[in-house]
Subunit: 189 residues, 2 copies
Amino acid sequence: MVATKERILHTSTELFGRQGFAGTGMNQIVAEAQAALGSIYHFFPGGKEQLCEEAIRTSGQIYLHLIEAVIDTAPDVTEGVRDFFTGAGAHLVATDYADACPIATIALEVASTNDELRRATADVFELWVAAASDRLETAGIPPHTARELSLFALAALEGAFVLSQASRSIEAIEAAGTNVVACIRAALS
Amino acid sequence: MVATKERILHTSTELFGRQGFAGTGMNQIVAEAQAALGSIYHFFPGGKEQLCEEAIRTSGQIYLHLIEAVIDTAPDVTEGVRDFFTGAGAHLVATDYADACPIATIALEVASTNDELRRATADVFELWVAAASDRLETAGIPPHTARELSLFALAALEGAFVLSQASRSIEAIEAAGTNVVACIRAALS
DNA sequence: GTCTATAGGAGGATAGAC
DNA sequence: GTCTATCCTCCTATAGAC
């Protein structure tokens, strides 16, 4: 049996990611994590806010490893980015459009309502952008352009998730992937 | 004095857009709209859900006119799209990063929790994509490519909003705008 | 149409037994 | 560490006077 704290954190990451901060209740979390309400406050004395912040940062690390793994496994960066968009679309379909970006919903929701959580989401996005930028630089793209392309690529992916989840179709992800890859290819030539 | 129903709808559009569906309370709406709680249920007997759906569709129409106006005012589509990104960034700064896309927060939040509202957000996104696609076609881009580019452009803008609101910086919007414009220019040549 | 009061339930959080 | 009972607040929604 997995440790209680890990079960709570795992369930929180999933629920906050899908339903947002306000839309997820502590009772729902303990019910799905099969834990007692008291256990949440034992492990996360800061309550809902602390739990959500740890969920955000946990998602950040998991996805950082995913970004690195997918890009570093591919024959080159261009293929890696293409694989990432393709994989994101496949995962969206596999989860019936439930799991896209684990922090985007929270990010938009807390942007103007909770500065501490807002900062946590900003830190995570920065982590992802920096990882992508590193790889584009390694491929020979100058630092400034690499950062611009990384921000753009992440933005296109995040926005494609919004459109895809709303329409329950991966058309937007495919459109975004195609054009992002074209921009990276252009910067490499 | 503006009609009560309009005041409620206007305030709802603003609050749901910023805080999402679950994060916005009926009491907060009537307080800011300076109306009575009973008035909400008089004009919107379907309650919170009906109010949010009307807010989504209202935002859809307003932004549709904005998209059309900005693009049709510019000397050509490319300039129009560039102006749209520039204007979006300026508006974000002007509102201290509070107002970006009026339905994105709701869209992500309800994507896996409320099918009726999810459909409303999908309808609105489709409306915007169709308007952009029309203009790209008029500029000489074939239908299939025009739709793909429109989906991609909207995705890049939506995702740039997410990153910009989280980081409180318009760096992502500028990066997205530059690359989207480049893709459209490439399709036109 | 507008207002206030309130029902009825769900929210986050705490206390204290075990 | 875990569990249950419970506090108190806030939520959506309704009722009914005006």
